[in-house]
Amino acid sequence: MSEGDEVIVSAAESSAPALSAERLSKRFGDRMAFDDVSFAVGHGEVFGFLGPNGAGKTTIVRTLGTLIAPTAGAATVAGIPLTPENGVAIRRRIAIMPESPGLYLRLSVTENLECFADLYEVPDATARIDRALRAVNLLDRAHDTCGSLSKGFRQRVALARALISDPQVLFLDEPTAGLDPAATRDVHELIDGLRRRGVTVFLTTHRLEEAERLCDRVAILNTTLRAIGRPSELREQLFARTLEVRTRAVLPEPGAVFAGLPAVEGWLQDGPATYVLTVADPTVAAPAVTRALVAAGADVLSIAEARHSLQDVYLELVDEDRGVGR
């Protein structure tokens, strides 16, 4: 994208969502990187972007980050319309942490951060650097060269670099890729801290448990947007709610026990003495099922609502795409 002078952000723009995309597409020659993607992200929201390799996640980050021009569609970033003229204005208000930290390995941690503080022209750079290093627990390594740091520490430096400009919108592209569990936990805590400070976070990740734990809403992308919503909403959209019933012995007439119970819509046997019941409302169905089983003389071992994870949602959608030969 080319770039122009600084734009003035109008009052109307400042009340816009932190990020929005309207039928956004990007094509490289014959290959469609992503197509017809629409979403809006509110201020202070942690928004997860999930998808298999090659789904277009990084290209979307690059597009919203003004590195790549969209082929079609419109978007706003930090309340500013995504146009070539607004490139500099947008980049002043955002920060992107790419998947690879991309640090100058011959330079110290502080020298790396000084360079970016100057590129963002932040006031009082020394204090900002100190604050960013404190946020990622790296103050004691400030004068080490980045080449001497472990992968986890380099990732932390990259995060500090992304925080130095106090961005309104922070794009994190696979921020925990290749990190050990302790470093991953530190990054998660940092993202939680950013949420508390009202920073809008756009997080692409392969780690579904990470998205489930951190994100207010998630979008699942596989070139086109396959689903968007809170993880719990996606589970409800994709999976019927079920109760799993386990008894000590096989029920002689399960149909007679489960038929006609309130909120129970159907059942099937899923093992010698295990039954899966499709229910409209587990809080109504579970007590009724318990009473019916006791009345039938069954020894009940457990009655539990089946919990579908975000991983189940993700795999369901991605497998569906594979099934139709995408």
Partner: protein, 239 residues
């Protein structure tokens, strides 16, 4: 007319100079490459007579130094950063293409000029110390010294544009440096033809070459700022 930020240009310039200083390969290479052009005048000054040396502008052979040295740095400018994954984080900042090009150019130009002029000093000192009487005045003639000093930044800038243009199209810094060296051969060839008196060194020729180089440098700036399109740099394709 948009204004360029001195702070952003300075940030990249400082970063580049720090990286060069700490690189195990860049400084030794930049120091060693000029030997090829420095040794010839030094050897000639000790083996030839003053009357022989007066017949051709041997000193201009040193212009090979600013033609070849910047290629080492300029070749690394974009391809090296791309190779290390450091280019994309810079492009996500508010830096403008013009600021990035200017910073990269200065980062290659400043050390190249310093090294070129330092080697000229070494040659002058060597000639003064080692050559036979009469040779220093035959070799270090005022018009050639002036031409050497004036053409050095013009040639260095031209080599930098070529080097950065090649570097921005490749992902491998070493390949960019090698291709850049090849691309600077015509400039060196012209210099050698002048030294060998195949092309007579006259004031008119000097003025024409200076104007041509100025135009080429201006053209280089325009082309390079257009080539520093973020999408092209990140993905290798333009929008």
């Amino acid at each position: 007319m948009m204004s360029l930020s001195r702070r952003r240009v300075g940030a990249i310039l400082r970063k580049e100079l720090r990286e060069y200083r700490r690189s195990r390969s860049i400084v030794p290479t930049m120091g060693a490459v000029p030997l090829l052009f420095v040794l010839v005048p030094l050897i000639e000054s000790t083996t030839q007579t003053a009357s022989t040396l007066r017949q051709y502008p041997l000193l201009l052979y040193l212009l090979g130094v600013p033609a070849i040295v910047p290629v080492v740095l300029a070749g690394y400018a974009v391809a090296g950063e791309r190779q290390q994954g450091t280019l994309e984080p810079v492009l996500t900042t508010p830096i403008r293409s013009q600021e990035l090009v200017l910073a990269k150019t200065l980062a290659a130009l400043v050390p190249s000029l310093a090294i070129s002029y330092a080697w000229y000093g070494v040659v002058a000192a060597g000639v003064a110390l080692l050559a036979r009487p009469g040779v220093p005045s035959a070799l270090l003639r005022a018009p050639e010294v002036v031409a050497l000093l004036l053409f050095t930044p013009l040639l260095a800038s031209w080599s930098i544009w070529i080097g950065i243009a090649i570097s921005s199209r490749l992902n491998d810094a070493r390949a960019a440096q090698q291709l850049g060296s090849l691309a600077s051969l015509p400039t060196i060839a012209v210099t050698i033809l002048i030294v060998a008196d195949v092309i007579p060194a006259t004031l008119v020729l000097a003025l024409v070459l200076a104007v041509v180089l100025l135009l080429l440098d201006g053209l280089g700036w325009r082309i390079m700022t257009a080539m520093f399109d973020r999408e092209r740099l990140v993905t290798g394709t333009s929008s």
